[in-house]
Symmetry: D2
């Protein structure tokens, strides 16, 4: 994954929104709904596929749709975080650190039934 | 937003999953469901708030919950993209470029009723 | 709301699925994803509307879209419940009964900040 | 599925909300978010299960959780439809009728790749 550009994307989205006078729509409630809507479109790509078909989706005719929905999810997530003043990478790293402690490898090895199970 | 670490996060999630033998659960179907589940938790924070209350959420007792859910959404999004071999920043920038052409500022200024309306 | 037809709808959906050999797709995982996808489409209708515009949506050009998405959500919910052997009305009534006890009117009157806040 | 009670449930939800002065929270935007939040909780139950485990979920320790989430989804769906003045059974039956024409059995038999694929 390219490592440059998350901050650049955040700034570009600000500019994009300002140029269109769309900032008024970008409230936390609205953006969280938009984020959920795009995740819903992502689910629709996978919903009827077998696990095997889903694993091969990037070699199928739906590959471009997958990229498109992942782009939309990323865009709304970055915009929402910006409006809330949250640094996504900072919170993600902090959460991962907590998860390392909550789920020691020796206790959860290969088990998805240890509630709550998280990445 | 910090600009380092998206690639680092991707690699850390690989390692985290491998250490716990959780790679078997990280299929595209499963991860898209997990992503939707976390977005659902984010919605739950905002659902009963007025627009004004939602705008002030980071100064409220729910601020840590917001950060926590944004972290989870980021984590699952990065992991899903990794399993699909998609570069989130690359597709997001490409999509934003297309949106610039689809929605010229002079045509959509301040309007959310131009379908489809997107960020 | 018409009171006949929930059981009829369940049976019609069985027949509809069997006639198209689509039963193989109607697993709990797939149907829950489809349900989430349709709810996502519903969110997309409301996401950029002000609270006032959303309250007037059934008098707008989006009224048919709202009906369409509510229909899809109902269909997938009824189908999912059928595949799981769950009686939606029975569980909803039982849950409402529990909520009456969890949220006594005198304690929660007009407050959405009593966690967990539920309908 | 019991066939009485959908209209009764609608009326009970009105009464339940009025007694708690919660009607102010039950706008279309808020209720659609709450609906999505509950569907997210449903997804979380199924997300790490194999198709086989998901098919057996009602015989597992998660059965009560499934019933609980289906109850919540039903409750918010009925309440949202009531606030919008939509008869869920009427629109579901109408949609199913259109789907019968859009997807003739002889054309779609056993295929989930005919876009858009719907129940």
């Amino acid at each position: 994954m390219s490592d440059e550009g998350l901050e650049a994307l955040r700034v570009e989205l600000q500019e994009f929104s300002r140029e269109r006078d769309w900032e008024q729509f970008h409230t936390p409630k609205n953006l969280s709904m938009a984020l959920a809507g795009e995740v819903g479109e992502l689910l629709e790509i996978f919903q009827w596929l077998t696990p095997e078909q889903a694993a091969e989706v990037m070699g199928s005719s739906r590959a471009e749709d997958v990229r498109d929905e992942l782009a939309d999810v990323t865009i709304y997530l970055v915009r929402l975080a910006d409006m809330l003043g949250v640094d996504l990478l900072e919170v993600a790293h902090a959460k991962l650190e907590r998860n390392r402690e909550r789920f020691p490898p020796t206790q959860v090895n290969g088990r998805a039934d240890v509630p709550p199970v998280e990445l």
